[in-house]
Point group: D3
Chain length 294, copies 6
């Protein structure tokens, strides 16, 4: 036993101890200050790591083992409570530094607004990128009751940043009338209700493109992800989301980063939400990190 | 801010403040005294209202907005604890008064026995009505261990009141041998296990008819509705129930009222049961109120 | 039954339906954006109201009945998610308007930062007021990691506004070294660990003075109030807090308003925290409203 | 292993397998149909038995071992759901038969109304009996909103049956104004808020008398018994209740039977309420059964 | 009422009181000492029995009633805490004695390692038997970090005992790379991810064979069985598992015994896991006991 | 931000990053394989660390700050599931190595049996040591139903190792008759029910002695520590335990190490047990580490 050499702290299973040697970096964004319903996703990243110790290191979905990927778990960015602007600035700065060092970023939320500064950092490096967005909510508002910094707005901002035609949303089953109208008129892609089937149809169109992927855990039905702030009945199964992740792994897309957000553990005493999320992270590590552009 | 004008209390989202101007009335029936397993559905109506504030007001399922319907939320009828007969009398009296005033009744339970006095009130106004019943349980008993007033009996009473051939049950996966035999012999319609597909086949047959619809939340699998008294494995998803509600909205049926019963919040700390229920109520408001007979 | 006349929504038990005729006004401040540990107190006011229906209307502690006090329950102020400054502005504006109309304000939080704008509104009307502060935490920081608007700062701001010698803290068992040093040097009163006994000693000194009282539910041991964001072991019992409330009722103090904050229901599935809080509100209504200055 | 001889089912630890040879009989009354707030005490008896397997068989409080007492666990009386009158009749009939056979009855509730038929059965055998009542609630109403059969009435009925001067209530901290006035005028004994100290003062006065004891678990503070329907802040500790039970064991009172009611497990996921209740039952068995009149 | 004749304790609904007259015996194995993640399945058997009282006695899946089968519920084997070897010896001894007396064994776990001694007992009587294994996990390890007695190993031991070609696994979605390679090379049958469809294809091949069936509740998605130690996202629905059980009932297989393991109630406050498990046990009793070889 | 330098994983708040420079070492023993009631304390150490981030770094109890002590958090010893003997060997080996390096050991359990190998390691270095034991249970059994390695035995073993007259137990309220008789006859010190007062009387007697302290969290009443395996009603408050810890800090005792065991988070969704435990650890760090012998 060598307990005196390094912390055996709460990191994602099989994380590599050395930042420099790692291809990918897992980082947490413990922020939930702008949510309109149930807060608590600030504890999502820590709990996803915690239950990862119950995971197998091998995936029968794509026949790969975590030893085939080198990733560092950087812990959570210490975001300032209740200050959305400074939090977003810190996230952007951190992701930019990861990109400068050639790391593949895997972000864990936190509320969905955290994806906005990531988009901003990514687009500076990859101006021609596209976004795949898997979520129950359209997140296409311009503001939320006057607040432009809201967890309901990041995909609208992505449309502004990247051009709506480069944004692909799947599984959407909730939003305002204006959001659905925007989706229709703007030229973006939106598949309502389902994920795996429409995604498989779209992936060939994205072959060879640089794509960032953001997944909101609430795309799952609350039966499969009760631990989330804005649970929305009528969602997909965890089996379907695994199928979607695998389809992306097996596609010709060049993946440049990803995040998984809105795990709020306080509402799920069975821990099934974080258990599912940690499995999704394993599949992203195994299937997506190797697909990054050289 | 005008906090001095009216209560901003716990009402279903976007309720109209004026009873007279409303087409529909939401009312709660907080009664659970005759249940044979886990009580607690008395708190169902209050919690469905409470979480409705997390709902969007627009439905992408039928492209309609809650502003298109005027409904009043009357709160809960103050039923006497432990007295089934007086409780049922009060419900019948209340629904009768709603019908006299031309209101579309949307009842929230409470145990399923609350539908019995509603049936009685409805049939006085609409003697040729039919009932669509969506439930895990047949509810076709004549009595429960000697008690004729039991949550296991309301559909049998509906058969007595309306003629069994006017009762259509869907999703049934639990009951006594006698109940299933009655279903076969009586001339009623019973679809076991599934809801959306068999319902879509039956709806054309009901075109133009006046139909009351009663939904027991336990038709959902306990995965989707853990918060109910008599959870029964092997049920449908919330996605399938949304599909069924939408199919009714899009049918030629004349809807004369509806209820949603058996939400028991104490068994669901994720609140997903009431969150799903409040979405179903939204869809009923949007899709069914307009389909009432003139 | 007169369900067509008024909402029977979620208001504190026995609330008076008319604002103008009421002496006191209960109002909620559903804000938790700056908390440093577990969020969720935004749902505190609604749940305190909800469980108030389980309360008796009579108090054996001071032999008084809720019919002896007229109070209006105004519901929750619709605070903007994630925007502390605008939220505080709205609270100050609302309390100021209550004071202008001669109402006794009873605020329900929400995080403790909501007391800051209340202090500001109160001191404009009552420049010579004092504050009684009952809490586990000193709340005497100047800022929290650079953020001046934090739930750790309101009592420090009260010292700035009123003069430290007019601030009386009880039950304090947590804070930084700087906060405890400030308490010693500033001239304020701070009783550590206990509430009822030291308070009884101080009350004669406050006789005849105008006093605002703010209670943080976490002064209770987590055994008695598990539903709070920053639970702190080693606290007092609910029996002791009732004794303290009663002692104030029986004192010669002129009470000008009060609040009860930091009830976060998601962490307490037994609902005992809000059940206790609703009892405290009943005792405040019965014992404190009548003690306001003419 | 002799698994083929008898059920090893859910009985209170160390129960004697033979009814005839037993001095005392534990029986459950799974009824909660008249409760005005949170139902669920029907599952109390089963859960108290279940966790009894975590108990030691020896008590350091009175230095006695469960092998010194012979008691049979009869399971739950199969009460008819939602029918208070028939339920009470069945309880009275059962307790009467126990008394005829010379058994010491130990009843487990269920709601407190179950004590009423027990009182009726007891007084037929012991016309000069007294009652010790330990509870948060006075339970002295004549009816509850018109219903004479309510969980708020049993102690008033006891006063009618036995003479108010033979009823001794302890720990009372909730009730209507009328109930507290009745307590004052009727000649009954009522100690507010506390149990152990006032009880110790009263016990000498009851020396040599035949006494039935009814304990409502909600006399404990919700911190110690969150699993109950009508939790009431400001209660006693489980340590104080153990002290009270021991004081009765050590007194000169002749105990003729007892019950423990209102354990509602659904509201306590830690199971601490039933764990405490099972310890109280052990202490009653050890300290009270031997004190019955010959 | 005849409460004096026999315990009415916690047994599976409609259990026969007489061991000798029964065809089948339900027995619990409350062991969880070797689990690598969340313990607690020791309480599974007791809670499955407890909630069985909420079940109907009739199955609409195969149109049969529990009165058509005679089964005795023997309670739990009192296994020694923390001693795997002695526990397994006791289980083997008990099952052997059941087989000698011609009883059909229905075992309730506990962790999956309990199936190992059952396999050993069964194969002594039925050397040409096959095993159907329904599970999320391959359970094909030779040891777990050096411990040969681990909940990850029983199916590997079954392959050793019976020949891998007589082992049929369904629903597997987790394991080490070595386990999946063993599955491929060993000649065993393994269907990944799904259960009902592949099982229906395999059943004709097993016609006339003696088959033991072991079901790990975690084959269900955590949405349907949150109460289990090693929850694994991406599983099947309870509807699919009911379909699989019914397919076996309707097949030409000769069933010689079965078990259902890994229900861990502490992680599921809705009780849906044990509610589903008790329904599966009912279906096994109704569909499988009659299919045993003469 | 320097996220690339070191894990920011789950360590106790303010842990020092360097083992060599630290005076004290926190280490976890995630073992619960021999518990006789509810397992789950294997997750205790991780959750105590997790909630430590909600703690203040300063203690008003002894006016000291965590910066005054240097301690390293070594994480959890990777104990082999279900193998008590190997687990105990690993613990002894680890603690021995800590003592060789002059570190003050602070162990987090896990079940109480983990203290046995610690005692063995300690007594080799400090043959004249004494033990202070704070617990609800006597833990004085020679074996548990034949198993000598059981969570009910460690204090008996301590008596064997150190001489009973060097063992001081406080707060004991549960055990077998034999255990209490042993306590009387053996010459050990046992204070029943209470902790702070009897401890203060004993501490002068221990002045100058080398003392190891073991605290079982279940000495607290279940109200204060619901998250434990063998909850026992009638316990002390967290306030009293803080008083006891402070009294030891202020005494003339030479403390040589300590542990805190039996935190089982699954039974406490409010997290109050681990929140209290982390505060106790802070107080031990602040008050006890400095009191070690040179």
């Amino acid at each position: 036993m060598k307990f005196d050499e390094a912390y055996s702290g709460n990191v994602f299973i099989k994380s590599h101890p050395n930042f420099e040697e790692s291809e990918a970096v897992i980082y947490g964004m413990p922020m939930d200050w702008t949510v309109s319903f149930r807060p608590g996703s600030r504890f999502g990243p820590a709990r996803i790591r915690e239950v990862s110790l119950g995971l197998e290191e091998y995936s029968p979905y794509i026949d790969r083992h975590l030893e085939e990927v080198k990733y560092f778990d950087a812990g959570d960015i210490p975001l300032p409570f209740g200050n959305p602007q400074r939090s977003l600035d810190m996230i952007k700065e951190y992701v930019t530094s990861l990109l400068e060092k050639g790391k593949f970023p895997i972000g864990l939320g936190g509320e969905h607004l955290v994806s906005l500064p990531i988009f901003k950092a990514m687009v500076e490096k990859y101006p021609d990128m596209a976004v795949i967005h898997i979520d129950a909510h359209a997140d296409l508002r311009e503001d939320y009751e006057g607040e432009p910094l809201s967890h309901s707005t990041p995909i609208r901002k992505a449309c502004d940043l990247l051009g709506a035609e480069n944004v692909y949303s799947f599984g959407i089953r909730s939003g305002t009338q204006e959001e659905f109208e925007f989706a229709k008129k703007s030229g973006m892609h939106m598949s309502k209700f389902d994920v795996a089937e429409p995604l498989k149809k779209v992936l060939p169109e994205l072959a060879g493109r640089k794509v960032y992927i953001t997944i909101d855990i609430d795309v799952l039905d609350p039966a499969h992800a009760p631990g989330t702030g804005t649970a929305e009945a009528g969602g997909i199964t965890s089996k379907e989301l695994l199928e979607a992740i695998t389809a992306i792994s097996n596609s010709e897309v060049q993946i440049i980063g990803c995040d998984l957000v809105e795990v709020a553990p306080a509402y799920d005493h069975s821990e099934q939400t974080q258990i599912a999320a940690s499995k999704f992270v394993r599949e992203m590590l195994l299937g997506w990190v190797k697909k990054q552009p050289k």
